[in-house]
């Protein structure tokens, strides 16, 4: 912003705050220095200035009062009670927590907003340079390019459209969403809303949005249902999956430390080269690959379907890493065996294991 423009806008704010009655554009032009003489040029500049003030969060009221100098003509003013930050006083412990919260965001849009808020609170008399005693320093990153436009859409209640390629999909697809909320777990961001294509609530992982998020309707046209629990939709979607089942496994002595962290009834068997243990699992399709990761350090004894799944998985590892040609064929088949899931396909928004 040029210096002249800053000066003009500053004068404009002071002028509109000082007035009780609505000032017409013409009255503003006479009172505020810096507007051009030509009518058209003035009109254009004044329109842009109004937009700048709204972006800054200045509550510009439009109306008319017959008793004012402008008669019935539309005028402008800034009501002080709508402009002014209410009185706020913080105790030192509150100020310390505030300082901590303001440092949380690691990236531009939200970090700038946090420093903007801090600036206003300081101006209101709050001392923010209080050493923090909270003992935990949280940092939140919003690296996904889709974060800023989706937050704005959620804030403004505006539908959006974007290209999305979920896991298991061979192609991206254009999606149309009325966004209800943006949530993060384990550092991954998700947007939840009403999917206009599916006619149902859906979850999308921000890192899988390709290209631009574009507005797809007017602001204020999204209604978040009263009973919508955005977090529950994002994270509890497979809460209703199968009951926990027990598995009996052999763990190589001194190895397979991962499964041992939650194994029960660990007891040595045979010559001491192996332990036998009980594990609990819910989702065969996740648990079998997890166990296969421990290769020759874990052997599944029971149940048979888990045993078969691990054997099948190990054979798939063997085949996939065999030759380039074999793997290419396998991948095409795999692409068609897509598991239906809610929005974020096959992803672990929930805990990685059980």
């Amino acid at each position: 912003m040029s210096r002249r423009k800053t000066e003009r806008l500053l004068n404009l704010v002071v002028c509109l705050l000082a007035t009780r009655r609505y000032l017409t554009a013409e009255q503003i032009r006479r009172a505020v220095p810096g507007y051009p003489d030509g009518d058209e040029a003035f009109k254009r500049m004044f329109e842009r200035d109004k937009e700048e003030l709204r972006e800054l969060g200045v509550p510009l009221e439009v109306g008319s009062d017959a008793s004012g100098g402008g008669g019935e003509e539309i005028g402008y003013r800034i009501p002080p009670q709508a402009y002014e930050l209410p009185e706020i006083h913080l105790s030192p412990d509150e100020a310390a927590v505030l300082g901590l919260a303001a440092r949380v965001w690691q990236r531009a849009s939200m970090a700038d907003a946090a420093s903007g808020a801090l600036l206003k609170l300081r101006a209101a008399g709050v001392e923010t340079d209080v050493p923090t005693a909270v003992g935990v320093e949280p940092r939140v990153d919003t690296a996904d390019p889709a974060f800023a436009p989706l937050w704005e859409a959620v804030r403004d209640g505006r539908p959006v459209t974007f290209e999305y390629q979920g896991v298991g999909r061979t192609h991206g697809a254009r999606r149309h969403l009325e966004p209800w909320g943006v949530v993060s777990r384990r550092g991954r961001w998700y947007v939840v809303g009403h999917d206009r294509d599916r006619g149902e609530p859906r979850v999308f992982r921000l890192s899988r949005i390709a290209g631009q998020v574009r507005p797809d309707g007017p602001a204020g046209s999204v209604t978040v249902p009263q009973d919508a629990d955005v977090r529950a939709i994002a994270f509890d979607r497979d809460a209703q999956t199968a009951e926990p089942r027990p598995a009996t496994v052999r763990l190589r002595a001194g190895a397979a430390q991962g499964p041992r962290r939650w194994a029960r009834h660990v007891r040595p068997v045979g010559d001491g080269a192996w332990d036998e243990a009980e594990l609990t699992f819910r989702d065969l399709d996740r648990f079998a690959p997890y166990l296969a990761r421990f290769a020759a350090d874990v052997v599944v004894l029971d149940p048979p379907d888990l045993r078969d799944a691990v054997i099948g998985h190990l054979k798939a590892v063997l085949a996939a890493n065999e030759t380039a040609d074999a793997a290419a064929d396998a991948s095409v088949d795999a692409g068609t065996a897509v598991k239906a899931a809610v929005g974020v396909d096959g992803d672990a928004a929930r805990a990685g294991e059980r």
């Binding site: 912003m1 500053l10 004068n11 704010v13 002071v14 000082a18 505020v32 800054l56 969060g57 200045v58 002080p80 402009y83 002014e84 930050l85 209410p86 509150e94 927590v97 505030l98 965001w105 690691q106 849009s109 939200m110 907003a113 946090a114 420093s115 808020a117 801090l118 600036l119 206003k120 101006a123 209101a124 003992g135 935990v136 949280p138 939140v140 990153d141 690296a143 937050w151 896991v167 999909r169 209800w180 909320g181 949530v183 384990r186 550092g187 955005v230 991962g258 997890y290 990761r293 421990f294 020759a296 350090d297 052997v299 190990l314 798939a316 590892v317 996939a320 890493n321 096959g346 990685g352």
Partner: protein
Amino acid sequence: MSGIETGAAPQDGASRNSVVQGDVARADVAKGDAGKGDAGKRPGATSTGRLARLLALVPYVVNRDAVALDEAAAAFGVTEKQLIDDLNMLWCVELRAPDPYCPIDLSYEGGEITVTEAESIARPLRLKADEAAALLVALRMLAGLPELHDRDALSRLIAKLEDAAGAAAQAAGKVAVEVETRGDTLARLRSAIDGRRRVHLTYYVPTRDENTERDVDPMRLLVVEGTTYLEGWCRRAEAVRLFRLDRVTDLAVLDVAADVPDDAEPIDVDAGLFRPSPQDEVVTMELTPRGRWVADSYPCESVTELGEGRLRIVLRTPDTRWVRALAMRLGDQGRIVSPPSLAGAVRGEAARALALYDLA
């Protein structure tokens, strides 16, 4: 299927790539630092930033009666020269009609700012929805941490900010950040930090599928990417290390005073948890559509679309053990293209595992 069971860093001390013990940090931390914010340091860098600063400056002084130039410059993150320019601009505010007058009167003589006439801008502007959300979302995330000493201050602050922000606070409810915390590890580490005590950790390193034992002098607790870490001086590595709390298998607070060397530098987590090194081995993998999740869970040097939803990714790592584990886990969802020796090693592991089933 997320990154919890995988790891990239090698032996202690050699973990030059990842600052987290036994961890492979996620891709989005590693991808450059473009657009990083710097909260509290440069208000006024945005397009309408200067006007926002000017509008805050008058109430800032009014609320403090008198403020030294250097103190105000520091608070607003500008030089004294810039600040004086701001003050001059405010002093020059002029309204011409109906009668010309200059509504703001101030002085900065003797290096001290006083405002004698603030007119209509004696109070700061209300918080915008973005500003209210940036603070409230962060505060509610803090409230999700168990065993917080300052829970009371936190709820009081949230209530005051909601009050002050009014309608602007509403949108903040549409963003939420969850933090993973487990058991009482966090609370016990906090008390160890407060009491300046050394701790003994049994720490699981997924890279090697090992539990390691180590003494650590705790420095601070961090939450990065929704995961809680202990930063401390690891006496075994003789270096500052981060430890993921969800990998602490066992914790003992020792009856020994913590002894963090004076020159122990806190880790700059904003610079990313994963730092590739030119000495790293380069691994190329191909992923099927169902294996695409790997690309947004691991730090990839490059990701190339191969058509039909397939991806080629290039990883850099000082220790390929976790890549072998990843390939074992992927099954038919992906394969190692190069180096061929690594693909061979994976085949060998799978064959050995299968042989156990033939015998059983």
